[in-house]
Symmetry: C2
Subunit: 371 residues, 2 copies
Amino acid sequence: MTDTRQVRLMARAIQLAWRGRYSTHPNPRVGCVIARGDDILGEGWHERAGEAHAEIHALSKAGPAARGATAYVTLEPCSHFGRTPPCARALIDAGVAKVVVATMDPNPAVSGRGLAMLRDAGIRVTEGVLAEQARQLNPGFMKRMHCGRPYVRVKMAASLDGRTAMASGESQWITGAAARQDVQRLRAISDAILTGVGTVLADDPSLTVRRSELGDIGDATEPSRQPLRVIADRDARTPCDAKILHGGNVRLFCSSEALVTAPAQDLSALGVSVAGVRWKDNGIDLGEALDALGELGINDLLVEAGPTLAGTFVHERLLDELWLYQAPVFLGSTGRPTANLPLERMADKIQWTVKDQRQVGDDQRLILIPR
Amino acid sequence: MTDTRQVRLMARAIQLAWRGRYSTHPNPRVGCVIARGDDILGEGWHERAGEAHAEIHALSKAGPAARGATAYVTLEPCSHFGRTPPCARALIDAGVAKVVVATMDPNPAVSGRGLAMLRDAGIRVTEGVLAEQARQLNPGFMKRMHCGRPYVRVKMAASLDGRTAMASGESQWITGAAARQDVQRLRAISDAILTGVGTVLADDPSLTVRRSELGDIGDATEPSRQPLRVIADRDARTPCDAKILHGGNVRLFCSSEALVTAPAQDLSALGVSVAGVRWKDNGIDLGEALDALGELGINDLLVEAGPTLAGTFVHERLLDELWLYQAPVFLGSTGRPTANLPLERMADKIQWTVKDQRQVGDDQRLILIPR
């Protein structure tokens, strides 16, 4: 039975974990509370990969008082030596009497080992408290551990009549400053941002997180790096003076033919890594690209692309969430569409579940899940 | 100074007035409370044109206790004999000591006369309490009194990518049952529904209020009649077996040429009135049509039309509200547009203010005001 104290203290641990939303990648966001009864003795959250895990921070705050206390952790404590010693061992050494865990380690190969280590040491273990809320902390980490691919969020911005620009191509920011700040935050929780060469050539975006535009991030840990920028560019046409190449941490996906002929020296001088992937008639083989990004440790992928690449994610149902920003304007029936999505019959329509709807400045933001 | 008692009792009067939302047309919705201090002695609301006004109902409930009491009325009491005797006279005869009014009579020719009659009889008068909320009861009545035209609500239903049907014309209800019930309620607060002959020929709608589909209307007075159905049909092509012609109360706007050649006998046998209006290159002269509807006493006009007629209202900015229902689907970039709205330059874009946003079943409903 889940009791209210467990829920309350686990909710606090989840709140702490969120503080690492911009900084833990590729590690998961984890929070920990050490308590005796209702009294919190120590709190912690994982801040950055390579640094101490949440449990170690919380135990350190609690000090000797941790002996006989209960630890609330949002994710099963690790049982192996990674870049830091195993947290299960630290909890045992500190003498905690009980450990309450929200979710298991998502990696099927090691899931349960941390809890087994605790139980073997005579510690009482409860799991599953606020499990769904804790999974929501790390959808990308969870998905990558399960299937090797990142969690994919596709961002689109359109008018209420479903247009992004005029027929002539004339275009401008149609969403407001608040929506742009929201997108900055979306970038900041992402490990990588994917775009296509068409967008690079048309708009020359940098696709970086600009700290000043993030605004007040409250008690969150400061972002620790730029997301990896990924360009789908079959023929390696991205010009060397494109802004996106000049922020560091860039990967270019091209065809294996272009890989041979690409101006590799120029790109590598810029620190751009180039990889060959398969291409299909309608563009990059997204399955192969997602596998490749998973292998790079990308948990959360944001797609900020033109109507063709974004439309392919929708058409092939390879996205987990669509973030649709709707500006309160009509651009008219001759304008360019939200996404290039050639559907012929009503039966082919794409159905969404609305996960979240809110007003962001003057714009609407919908988070949609494919049904 | 507006005091809290005045606000509280006027809010109650407004609540009462809403009960007439489906039944007072062409009269305004009006509510009245008779109170002594905080004690409510009588309440009333206008139910149907030709029947007693709100003040008469409330005075009748209060009886002799009304002497020396205060009357709260959402609209300035009338000072003239219409289908009923003047309410200002009734308030004087009942001996009320004070009258609090939310809004003045919107008809500039008579505005203020009711209050003058009360003051002349020695009654203290306060006006302007919750004025904006009271105006919202009767946007159509207010607008018609000021400029002779009805308040225009255009209804559209589209996918989140701004499409209403497939390129082939294949179509089906894309919004859900809750949205359709919501549209029934929108029809029921409307005095008239305008559509075009294209919609009649393509969909053969009846455009009636179906009481069973309205659902539970709480303490509102039952709808007393069908809204007038209006068809914009330049060449009088509406077939005599069209469903819309068979619910009674139908008006057909055609060109003056068609007025001569139209099968007048057939239509008048069905009870359809036919009127000639001017047509322009892109369709009916909407200004002239709105003037004609205002002369017919139409306060609230609902436009349920195809993409061309609906688009013209937007293009010519002749609507007061757009009710946009968005189904959580994508129909794809080749689908038919929300509205035929040929805009060439970004500077021509139509900007909206979001007056209301809510979830209606699985769909989003936005009420948009042209900026």
